[in-house]
């Protein structure tokens, strides 16, 4: 090989190297962003690489505001305008509720939304005789409507009273969430939205941006960073359930 052709080869290699570098710089952010906002395909199972959770800042949660509750009602068709027409108020389902707390010592008042806390060690899953009450690999606690026998033991076991029983036949249901008479239901963390890479309806609806949804296992997620910097508590942390829903300002 003569000297001239050797120089040509080197120039060609430099050119290809520069092209590769430019291509990487152009494509890489897209690839990385694609991973962040990754929506699972229907064939791909939920993974324990994620642990979905919500951080709720009770200091931002406004008294009298129930945007999160109505958003959930609209998404899933429960509540005063829902299809439960014959059940009494005590029998109607509530997937999420606003709770007003007054400190008995100081009189300090705060409000917060309360729903299924998506525990790492959910008592509802422990007690369910058939395994209908279950936790997905990514930490979302759900009821398998096909094998729920309606025994309500999960409702006895939940320390947050997060579950409701369907007391009547329901019609005109939302496709998002089939609700069957005689079975138990609760907040699903908007599992179908999460699987599509979206936020839960309550988080999206909060006008105060008091709720942050994200992956507790990703140290760079907004929820992990906020928890690391400013902390967050679990309701009834003494029970050791390691909830996926965390609160600030409790």
């Amino acid at each position: 090989m003569d000297k001239k052709s050797n120089q040509t080869d080197q120039a060609r290699r430099r050119f290809f190297g520069q092209v590769a570098a430019v291509a990487s710089l152009t494509v890489a952010p897209g690839v990385i962003l694609q991973q962040v906002a990754h929506a699972r395909s229907p064939e791909e199972p939920a993974s324990d690489k994620n642990r979905w959770g919500i951080l709720i800042n009770t200091n931002k949660c406004a008294e009298g505001c129930d945007a999160c509750v109505t958003a959930c009602q609209d998404e899933y068709g429960w509540g005063p305008n829902g299809p439960e027409t014959r059940s009494s108020d005590l029998q109607k389902a509530q997937w999420i509720r606003k709770v007003k707390l007054t400190d008995k010592q100081t009189g300090h008042v705060q409000t917060l939304p309360l729903m299924c806390q998506h525990c790492e060690h959910p008592p509802c899953v422990d007690v369910c005789p058939t395994g209908a009450s279950m936790k997905r690999a990514d930490g979302i606690v759900l009821v398998d409507k096909h094998i729920c026998i309606g025994c309500r033991y999960c409702m006895m076991a939940c320390p947050y009273k997060a579950r409701s029983f369907i007391h009547e036949e329901l019609h005109d249901q939302k496709v998002n969430a089939p609700r069957g008479k005689g079975t138990v239901e609760s907040c699903t963390l908007c599992v179908q939205r999460v699987d599509a890479g979206r936020q839960p309806a309550c988080v999206e609806a909060c006008p105060e941006q008091a709720m942050i949804f994200g992956d507790l296992k990703d140290p760079e997620s907004a929820i992990s960073r906020e928890l690391r910097e400013n902390g967050g508590e679990q309701i009834r942390a003494d029970l050791g359930l390691n909830t996926g829903i965390r609160y600030q300002g409790l």
Partner: protein
């Protein structure tokens, strides 16, 4: 001691048919109630999202607890070799099966999806105490049936003791399981106590024996079979021991809760401020269900009066139902402790005493389960030799002269 002879009842008297018709009417009403609950949904009941287990569960848990206790008389004969109880061993086993069947019928028909019973039998979450109970109930049926077989088939009699021990151990585990359904519930302040398992066991002794006493008295009276004082004395004294045992464990339960500050609220609710639950606790369970029967069975004169012994056994049963109402519904009526130190208000009954009004379908289903249990007994004693021909002193008492 004479050889014990058993025989079937004729079962063609007007009284027998009337009894079956009456029980059948109650059982039928229970099934109709269950049909309505399944067809329309549980909105027709008084149960709601706060009181999720209602009157059907009061009856169901009572019957399931009483079932294991009803076996005791057989166990005392076979396991502890007290021959005086042997004539009642078959009836004791029969009652155990019948009461469990009645209790389970209520429990299953109250399910939101009773049609999915096969799911409950085929999908098991082995961490669930409920799932364990499904296995324990089925095992109990099987073991007691084998036990009865060894008692009723002379060629099998050499296995009676083995089967009796197995059934006795199994029944202790079963009632431990029933009590633990509540004992394992960390969320509710009224439960979450290991003592609920032994409390349920000693309650089962009392409830089961009370039912056995009444059924024995009725069967002997209606079929003209002698029932001697010797056996009655043993049975009523034993009932007294079991009532006292229940009171002791109940005292330990409440003292534990009263000592720990966290539980002062729920204790004040059950023992002092709980309205119907407080009344049922003190008047139903303690006074009428425990102290009055205790006074009757140990009173030198009253304790010899058959009618009063029967009355005492009836009071134990009614007191037992009151006890279950206080435990199951009172325990749910007191609010959960979700935010310690805070007053809580919400649209979902947070921080308030949960209200519950029992409905007719719930009562009908519960009473129907009782009726089904008694129908099983009434039919079984007609087709198989469960009842001894005599419970007179010379048959029962080994020292009778």
């Amino acid at each position: 001691m004479k050889k014990i002879r058993y025989s079937t009842i004729k079962g063609n008297s007007a009284g027998y048919l009337a009894l079956l018709a009456l029980l059948g009417a109650f059982a039928g009403a229970g099934l109709v109630a269950a049909y309505f609950m399944e067809h329309y949904g549980h909105y027709i009941t008084g149960m709601n999202n706060q009181i999720v287990w209602g009157t059907p569960h009061v009856f169901a848990v009572f019957l399931i607890v009483a079932a294991s206790g009803a076996l005791n008389t057989a166990s005392i004969a076979s396991v502890f070799s007290k021959t005086a109880y042997k004539p009642l061993a078959r009836l004791s086993g029969l009652l155990a099966i019948a009461l469990l069947a009645g209790g389970l019928m209520i429990l299953v028909l109250d399910l939101g999806r009773a049609d999915r019973l096969v799911v409950a039998m085929t999908y098991y979450n082995f961490k669930s105490i409920f799932a364990w109970n499904i296995i324990l109930y089925n095992g109990f049926f099987l073991l007691v049936a084998i036990y009865l077989w060894t008692m009723m088939d002379p060629t099998m009699s050499r296995y009676t003791k083995t089967a009796g021990v197995a059934a006795f151990v199994w029944r202790l585990i079963l009632t431990t399981g029933t009590g633990s359904i509540f004992g394992f519930l960390v969320a509710r302040l009224a439960y979450n106590e290991a003592i609920m398992a032994p409390l349920f066991i000693v309650m089962s002794f009392a409830f089961g024996l009370a039912i056995l006493i009444l059924v024995t008295m009725a069967a002997c009276k209606w079929t003209g079979r002698p029932l001697g004082d010797a056996l009655m004395r043993r049975l009523k004294n034993l009932l007294g021991v079991f009532i006292a045992g229940t009171l002791l464990l109940l005292l330990a339960y409440h003292l534990t809760k009263l000592y720990i500050t966290q539980y002062h609220g729920v204790e004040a609710f059950i023992l002092r401020d709980g309205g119907v639950y407080t009344q049922l606790f003190w008047l139903g369970w303690i006074l009428l269900g425990s102290l009055v029967p205790l006074a009757i069975v140990y009173h030198p004169a009253w304790g010899k009066n058959r009618s009063l012994i029967g009355f005492a056994a009836t009071l134990v049963i009614l007191g037992g139902l009151a006890a279950m109402y206080v435990i199951i519904i009172g325990g749910q009526a007191y609010p959960l402790l979700i935010f310690p130190g805070k007053e809580v208000v919400s649209s979902f009954s947070d921080g308030v005493i949960n209200s519950y009004t029992p409905s007719l379908p719930e009562f009908a289903l519960g009473v129907g389960g009782f009726a089904v249990a008694l129908i099983i007994v009434a039919l079984a004693v007609k087709v198989l030799q469960f009842l001894p021909e005599s419970l007179a002193d010379e048959v029962v008492d080994p020292h009778h002269k």
